[in-house]
């Protein structure tokens, strides 16, 4: 039982990070019907920018660890969000009216450009966040020892997701985003500035990915320029699992994928961890082709 609960907390922390990245995939897909394959690299850029800000501004020394890390995360999110908007301008906007495959190829190209830019700027060796910025203490409850950082990560992910959900559901801009996701032409006729909506989506999604990058850096310490690929793949899987284009779906999918991986590795086989995760994905897609929370949308003819 102890193993089960330990792995459950492992899975939830990793799943929270998957979920945050998955939101970026799902939001862009919802509005543009485009899989932004460069999203994983935006997450990597977030982690590297976080490290640069941390070491160059020494925020944590001036403001104390908690406020410093908060400010750092906000700055990194803002920067990555801006890079997201620039990515859209450079790689996707010129292809809005082109066949959908062109944008996919463009996304793959952008991904290669990003990861190699990071390699050229920061060098190919793994980089390491300074040790001991945040506590490495553990909480002991019911005979389990759970690192405090793990709880903080999960809590931060949930707070960000709830904030996003509230923003999408309760505000006027959120309503505009939902309207643009349903039918862009009708939204335009209703006076919604769709271009601005797209810009906003390309700001919010990458910003959340950037936040995930900073979290990974702070919690695990080591970052490298290729990590966007594996996290991106997992988060993309999580988005599909929950139903691509659906925001609560991305959250559920991320947490679920993290837990499936942790438990699969613990009770079945470690080497087959990814195979188990993808196996579950296939099973769910057989039963529900649109994912767990995805709606059946009739294709326009």
């Amino acid at each position: 039982m102890e193993l089960f609960f330990t792995q459950l907390t492992n899975g939830l922390a990793v799943g929270g990070i998957y979920a945050l990245i998955a939101l970026g995939y799902t939001m862009v897909y919802g509005v543009l019907k485009l899989i932004n394959f460069a999203h994983g690299d935006l997450f990597t850029i977030g982690a590297y920018l976080g490290l640069t800000l941390l070491t160059s501004l020494s925020l944590t020394d001036h403001l104390g660890p908690v406020a410093g890390v908060l400010l750092l995360s906000v700055m990194a999110m803002g920067l990555v969000g801006v890079i997201g908007i620039l990515l859209d301008r450079a790689a996707y906007k010129p292809l809005r009216t082109s066949p959908r495959l062109s944008a996919v190829v463009s996304a793959l190209g952008a991904s290669i450009v990003f990861s190699n830019t990071v390699m050229l700027v920061y060098g190919p060796n793994p980089k390491v966040y300074p040790h001991g910025i945040l506590t490495s203490q553990a909480i002991h409850i019911f005979g389990l020892s759970i690192p405090v950082m793990r709880v903080i990560i999960l809590a931060s992910c949930i707070i960000l997701m709830v904030a996003l959900y509230t923003f999408i559901q309760k505000t006027k801009i959120g309503t505009a985003i939902r309207a643009a996701a349903i039918d862009q032409d009708a939204a335009r006729l209703m006076g919604i500035n769709v271009d601005r909506v797209i810009m906003l989506v390309f700001f919010i999604g990458p910003a959340l990915g950037g936040a995930a990058g900073v979290m990974v850096g702070l919690y695990y310490g080591q970052i490298n320029f290729t990590m966007g690929w594996i996290y991106g793949l997992k988060a993309f899987t999580a988005a599909i699992l929950g139903g691509i284009g659906n925001i609560p779906g991305a959250m559920v999918g991320g947490l679920l994928l993290g837990v499936i991986e942790a438990l699969g590795a613990a009770y079945i086989s470690m080497a087959w961890k990814d195979a188990i995760a993808f196996g579950v994905l296939i099973l769910i897609l057989i039963v529900r082709p649109t994912g767990l929370l995805g709606e059946r949308v009739a294709e326009k003819i």
Binding site: P124, G221, W229, I230, M270, K273
Partner: protein
């Protein structure tokens, strides 16, 4: 416009002329400048450029300047095949590289059929030299040798229950299988044998699972980024089991990733680094490297590429030719106890390096790698 273009073309020929006129002796380097092993490739490139400049300052080779021609294998077998095909058509006297076993394997037959000498530097998989390729050599030792030394070290420390962890790469799995096979003949029990996924950050799940089997020691055969994460997370779990690593852990970044406290007491196997060799060649190389790059060489495998370059240069000097058959013959039979940057070098008929190469290192409290006698 047309006029301008023709002028430009004419001018570019003017600049190109001296480059064409100068006759150089080309030596190829196939290394991963991109992809997940890019740091290894960059180190290889730096070391070879340094050594080539040294040769050129001493009057060159056969009266010509040595030029390093680089092919990027991307740490990927398909890219490596392309890089090898390109290098094979560039009239090189030999090719140094590469790092990964599966990558070298993808290029071996291309060089063999073009009759080009290939000296690999990091590819330790056993089968590479079991194919009877005449022009293939390597300056790194083999996995069976490493497995032998690993098991010897484990038994010397008196451990009885061993957990073996690899990362599913050709190299790491081969070494893990080798060690497991040898432990079966010893008075020890393998209580755990499985793989992790390289490139991830969270290995808590795996560590909890290994911990449940209560091993006396964990033998990890993968690479240093994962080893660093494992050591760090093991300490955060409050589990103090000794870890022994394979030769892909010999990189100072391991200590950076794990932190000094977590890395302390970690053992790993490796060919000796130049810092630990008393020879004149090793010390001179270190000084030159420090002077030019302001650092000590990070990767032992890149230094082994340097040794590959040095034996090739030696063979070209001694045979006074760039003929592959003559060079191969010299390396197989004539080269004896050549003083390298990583100890003495000789080759057997298969092209494997001969001699007792592996040493055991331990990380001390300061994060230094200390050679264990």
């Amino acid at each position: 416009m047309k006029k301008l273009l023709s002028i430009l073309i004419a001018v570019s020929f003017l600049f190109a002329a001296p480059a064409l006129a100068k006759d150089t002796l080309k030596i190829g380097l196939m290394c991963p400048l991109t992809g997940s092993w890019a740091s290894e490739g960059q180190d290889m490139k730096q070391i070879l450029e340094l050594l080539a400049d040294q040769v050129n300052n001493d009057g060159g080779l056969l009266g010509k300047d040595v030029e390093i021609v680089i092919g990027d294998d991307g740490g990927d077998p398909r890219t490596a095949a392309l890089a090898a095909q390109r290098l094979a058509t560039q009239d090189v006297a030999g090719v140094i590289g590469t790092y990964g076993s599966s990558i070298t394997e993808a290029s071996q037959n291309i060089y063999a059929s073009a009759k080009i000498i290939q000296i690999a530097n990091g590819s330790t998989a056993i089968r590479l030299t079991e194919k009877g390729l005449k022009y293939f050599f390597r300056t790194c030792p083999r996995d069976d040798e490493q497995g032998r030394v690993a098991v010897e070290t484990i038994m010397d420390q008196g451990y009885k229950k061993v957990a073996i962890l690899h990362d599913n790469t050709t190299y790491a799995k081969g070494l893990a299988d080798e060690a497991e096979g040898r432990l079966d003949d010893e008075d020890a029990e393998v209580v755990f044998f499985d793989a992790l996924t390289p490139g991830e950050q969270d290995y808590n799940t795996i560590l909890s699972k290994i911990k449940a089997t209560k091993p006396d020691v964990v033998f990890f055969t993968g690479y240093y980024p994962e080893a660093g994460m494992l050591l760090r997370q093991k300490m955060e779990m409050g589990w103090d089991v000794p870890f022994i690593g394979g030769d892909a852990n010999n990189n100072p970044d391991l200590v950076k990733i794990a932190g000094k406290k977590a890395a302390q007491g970690f053992y790993f196997l490796s060919p000796p680094v130049p810092q630990d060799l008393p020879t004149k060649e090793a010390q001179e190389f270190l000084d030159a490297y420090k002077k030019r790059y302001n650092a000590t060489p990070g990767s032992i495998w890149a230094v082994l590429a340097g040794d590959g370059f040095r034996v090739l240069v030696k063979a070209i000097e001694e045979t006074e030719s760039t003929d592959s058959d003559k060079i191969a013959d010299y390396l197989h039979n004539e080269l004896k106890a050549f003083s390298g940057l990583t100890g003495t070098i000789s080759f057997n008929d298969k092209g494997d390096r001969v001699g007792d190469v592996y040493r055991v290192y331990k990380v001390d409290a300061e994060g230094n790698f200390v050679l264990q006698e």
